[in-house]
């Protein structure tokens, strides 16, 4: 007789936890449909509903909010970084996992040591470097920053490559395949989960990052901003009472493509992480 009670209890607890986790999300969605532009403080759900925030976001760009331009900028940066980073990560991971050469171990230790310096420290110097090349305030500069160092994030991918049986590669070599052929014809087709994982991660990081973008893009023209800078700017003390619900609407719009990506790729995603983490 004890069992059913416990099972019901289990679901109740789970339900409470889910509610706890979803409150901010629900509030975000609810506020995005609020007719009141500022932050409501008296009721959780808006008193008057409207879709004006979304209309403003897409149809009425002004000096603070130019969402279509931000979305386009972030999209371009995201896609470019995604392509470059994925190629870099796969290249480095293959070299470190499947090939043996003298500098392999020293390079790996060097990458670990380099990774222990706080990223914030080098940011300001990266800004100086970019300023000398004349690439601040440009999307090309941001793409360079996000993707140039991406080779350092090869570890999880290497862990995954390590699990691909050596015999596969060896038999290919006996048949006369070059390393290039093995890389492109054998290892890459076998690594779908980890490629999906890398693609998602490198596509998302420019969307999520805001510190670097804020340092590099000093332009006052909203059309030059990324989604992250633009949304952050709306919450400034002087603007928050006018733009809070618009910010929420922007947050929802950004979350939609990412959620769709996640749902489709969830299976690969879990496989990718765990496959790589076990040995990594």
């Amino acid at each position: 007789m004890k069992k059913p009670v416990r099972i019901v209890l289990r679901h109740v607890v789970l339900f409470l936890l889910a509610v706890f986790w979803l409150i901010p999300v629900i509030w975000l969605v609810a506020t995005s449909f609020s007719a009141h532009k500022g932050m409501a403080t008296n009721s959780f759900f808006p008193t008057n509903w409207s879709i004006d925030n979304y209309a403003q976001l897409f149809a009425r760009p002004d000096t603070v909010c130019n969402f279509p331009a931000w979305f386009k900028n972030s999209m371009i940066i995201g896609v470019a970084c995604c392509i470059i980073s994925t190629i870099f990560v796969l290249m480095v991971a293959y070299a470190m996992s499947c090939m043996r050469f003298k500098a392999r171990k020293p390079l790996m230790s060097f990458a670990i040591i380099l990774g222990m310096f706080p990223g914030v420290l080098s940011m300001i110097a990266v800004y100086f470097v970019l300023r000398e090349i004349g690439l601040t305030d440009s999307m090309f500069g941001l793409i360079l920053i996000y993707s140039a160092g991406s080779g350092m994030g090869y570890l999880i991918c290497k862990g995954f490559f390590d699990t691909i049986p050596i015999s596969l590669r060896e038999s290919a070599r006996l048949e006369g395949a070059s390393e290039f052929t093995i890389f492109t014809r054998i290892v890459i087709p076998l690594s779908k989960p980890i490629i999906v994982y890398t693609v998602i991660n490198s596509f998302l990081s420019p969307w999520m990052d805001f510190v670097m973008a804020r340092l590099m893009i000093k332009s006052k023209n909203p059309a030059d901003w990324t989604v992250a800078i633009g949304l952050f700017n709306m919450l400034q003390k002087t603007l928050v009472s006018e733009y809070f619900s618009v910010f929420c609407a922007g947050g929802v719009i950004v979350a939609i493509p990412i959620s769709i990506l996640f749902v489709i790729m969830q299976k690969f995603y879990v496989e990718g992480i765990t496959g790589g983490a076990v040995k990594g």
Binding site: W27, V92, A95, M116, L121, L231
Partner: protein, 474 residues
């Protein structure tokens, strides 16, 4: 460490033999890099290598030498503007820019260092070819060498571009910032208007000084301790929370596992900066939570109970030390647990079932099974990633910065060194550079963060993952 020195010794020993035993062509490569290849008929390679040499020499002579010459002082001529009333133009003298001197010196030195490596390996290679020739063996043609770049030397092709990216956008900036730690580069010494110069270890001394004018010592100790507490708390709460949630959802009695999992995963899908800013607003002094708490009489009840000050606007969730510390850790649980849950789900599914079964047959309780089988198994697999996540939490900039955007410290001694109670070392570093242009102290703090992270990694990897415990779990 011993391996490292042995490797270094061999490296130079090989170079020595190449020079000592090389013939005329090999020795001529000491001066003109391509000579060794010309002598064996590898004309194209010889030309390419010589071109590299010429390029490096030109680059150093034309570009970096003027900067390197001033590296010792970081410049002596300050910028001056002279306004000529006759022609109505401003003339600026030929001033030194300390920032550019330091930056381009770092670049110039790196280029020279890279050239040195190429130089040494080139001599070795030339000597190898000399021996091949002496033994009458086949010497690769240029076409064959290019082909090898896609076969046995494929790693060179693979690694060149990624390494170049890392060098330009990570190594150069880092070296530059490390150098800045030994200069007086701050708000009062900003190029191009002013010069900065070397000050030795003065900044490091300042970091541990605490007197009327300098309070960095006071702030540093407090922030370091909070950073460490935060890193440990943040890592372990989300880790254990994630495992528990994964176990809870994956239990055989739970209905609709996928739906539950998806509910939690939704929170990952919203970009972190959006959720963090949103939660920051939710819990701000005049945010929704305080508004509701006011309506329900919670605020006045807390005031009566003496838990919050009677003059307060509301519950100071993110605006008072203590409250803010606890809130940050809780909010971080909210952010981190779903992600950990995903990872743990993947690993938990792989726990060998027979172990769990036999434990059950032996009469172990759920609790015992969790602590004696599940946890050790998880720790074994995720041990290394735990250490890396402690390190990444030390560097967890976003959570603290975005959540406490708007926090002002009530402590004047901390404020004197531009720090706040809830700052991590990295957020403090960021405030120092971004708001106060205090680059010298920021660099010193950055170096300290590196030392802390390196120490944790070393201790962690030698103690936690001691020995080979693989058999226990197979």
């Amino acid at each position: 460490m011993k391996n490292f020195f042995n490797g270094l010794k061999n490296y130079f020993a090989e170079f020595g033999t190449a020079v000592a035993k090389g013939d005329i062509w090999t020795r001529m490569s000491l001066l003109i890099l391509g000579m060794g290849y010309f002598g064996r008929g590898q004309i194209i390679k010889g030309i390419l290598v010589t071109l590299v040499e010429v390029a490096v020499i030109l680059f150093t002579a034309m570009f970096s030498a003027p900067y390197l010459a001033k590296l010792g002082t970081l410049g002596t001529v300050q910028r001056e503007e002279v306004f000529d009333p006759l022609t109505m133009t401003k003339t600026v003298n030929d001033y030194d820019n300390s920032l550019l001197i330091l930056l381009f010196s770092v670049v110039g030195l790196l280029v020279l260092f890279a050239f040195l490596l190429i130089y040494i390996s080139n001599i070795k290679r030339v000597y190898e070819i000399q021996k091949l020739k002496e033994n009458g063996k086949h010497i690769e043609s240029f076409a064959e060498e290019v082909k090898a770049l896609f076969n046995e030397r494929f790693h060179i092709t693979l690694l060149t571009l990624p390494s170049l990216g890392v060098i330009v956008f990570t190594v150069v900036p880092l070296l530059f910032m490390i150098c800045v730690a030994f200069t007086n580069y701050d708000a009062n010494h900003q190029p191009p208007t002013y010069l900065f110069t070397w000050v030795g270890l003065q900044n490091f001394r300042n970091l541990f000084t605490n007197n009327m004018t300098v309070s960095f010592g006071y702030a540093f100790i407090r922030i370091l301790i909070w950073t460490l507490i935060w890193a440990v708390l943040a890592t372990f709460t989300t880790y254990i929370g994630g495992i528990l949630l994964a176990k809870f959802i994956n239990n055989e009695h739970t209905k609709g596992k996928k739906v539950w999992r998806a509910l939690f995963v939704i929170t990952i899908a919203i970009p972190q900066f959006v959720t963090l800013l949103l939660i920051n607003k939710m819990f701000s002094d005049n945010g929704i939570i305080n508004g509701l708490a006011n309506q329900w009489g919670l605020v006045s009840w807390l005031k009566d109970a003496g838990i919050i000050a009677s003059g307060a606007n509301g519950i100071p969730f993110l605006s008072q030390p203590g409250w803010a510390h606890v809130m940050i850790v809780i909010i971080n649980i909210w952010i981190g647990v779903p992600y950990q849950m995903l990872i743990a789900t993947g690993i938990l599914m792989n726990i060998p079932n027979d172990q769990l079964e036999s434990a059950k047959i032996d009469g172990a309780t759920e609790f015992q099974i969790f602590w004696k089988i599940t946890m050790p198994y998880m720790l074994f697999i995720t041990g290394p990633s735990l250490i890396t996540s402690i390190v990444s939490n030390i560097n967890n900039f976003n959570v603290i910065y975005l959540l406490t955007n708007g926090y002002t410290t009530p402590n004047p001694t901390l404020a004197n060194s531009q720090a706040k109670e809830i700052d991590l070392l990295v957020t403090w570093l960021f405030t120092l550079t971004n708001d106060y242009s205090n680059f010298k102290m920021a660099s010193v703090i950055g170096i300290c963060v590196f030392i802390v992270c390196a120490a944790i990694t070393l201790i962690g990897f030698t103690n936690l993952i001691k020995g080979d415990r693989e058999e226990d779990f197979q």
